[in-house]
Symmetry: C2
Subunit: 148 residues, 2 copies
DNA sequence: CACAACTAAATTGCGTACAATTTACTTTGA
DNA sequence: TCAAAGTAAATTGTACGCAATTTAGTTGTG
């Protein structure tokens, strides 16, 4: 009898024995958790990430921004255009090297900072993890990021 | 002096003090890590997830599939149509309730199972985490999934 | 039976992600 | 010096992910 039934699915191919699916799904879940908080300020999660980088860095090339966020120009270029159209960022041409775009926040983008300060904490609470667990989760995700 | 400079960015608004960004980025990274392995079999990561569910369940309504994967019909309907077009799944109408679609694998979808058995392990190795760390990461992501 | 309330899936529209290519500019080396 | 190689960003095309709506079928209540 060589029938294949679900009992014969190798352990490692079961959805609930893999790390990757919960990681993927938890990330979706967290972005969902941010959504209502951010859409109150007309921001997507990615737009919020870009603003966070710009609040720390003032001015940045698209490539450097991509290095920080682990994203390429195919994702960032159209995003930054939309953000420019909303008045959230500036996209200045580099004066020395005219290929580069120098991205920076506007007054409006800067102004959002105070309004969103408490969102991370509120979302973190919703996650239902202890501080200790959050910090372990963060460390493990960062380890994944450095290795792959 | 009420100028706002980067020194005054509250701790919780810094990219590297939040869990959410590494989680989001690690999930992207893991999907990227799967991509070359799966595209060798002409599968996307989500198609692979769907197949894993179907290998365990034989036949499933779209809603039940969505509950397993934490996704809605807006994502699944077009995905399942593409998978049907590729010959990976069947989309049978329910005979009792004609609203539902009963999703199941085809022979072809079944056949892929053996071919992808070793992918999770290979990707897990690439992540550079110990078994212990993988299991902690998995547990914490699952805790996030139950809570939010 | 009638018909409103409900439900499953599909559709629409928008914003990511990313591979692959293109465009525009810069650097290099014979 | 000037074409070839290199590089930054943008574009193209495809596939998610999801809110909001629509379509089609079912159920509950009088």
């Amino acid at each position: 009898m060589a029938t294949i039934d679900s009992k014969q699915i190798p352990e490692q191919l079961r959805l609930d024995s893999q790390v990757c699916f919960p990681l993927y799904s938890a990330a979706n879940e967290v972005v969902r958790a941010y959504r209502p908080h951010l859409s109150a300020h007309d921001l997507s999660y990615l737009q919020y990430l870009v603003l966070m980088v710009l609040w720390e860095e003032k001015e940045l090339e698209v490539k450097a921004l991509g290095a920080k966020l682990n994203l390429d120009s195919g994702t960032l270029s159209p995003l930054l255009k939309r953000m420019e159209a909303k008045g959230l960022v500036l996209r200045k041409r580099g004066s020395i090297d005219e290929r580069v775009r120098l991205i920076s926040t506007t007054k409006k983008g800067e102004g959002i900072r105070l309004a969103v300060t408490d969102i991370p904490q509120r979302v973190a609470c919703q996650l239902g993890l202890e501080m200790e667990e959050l910090s372990v989760l963060k460390r493990l995700c960062e380890k994944v990021l450095t290795k792959v």
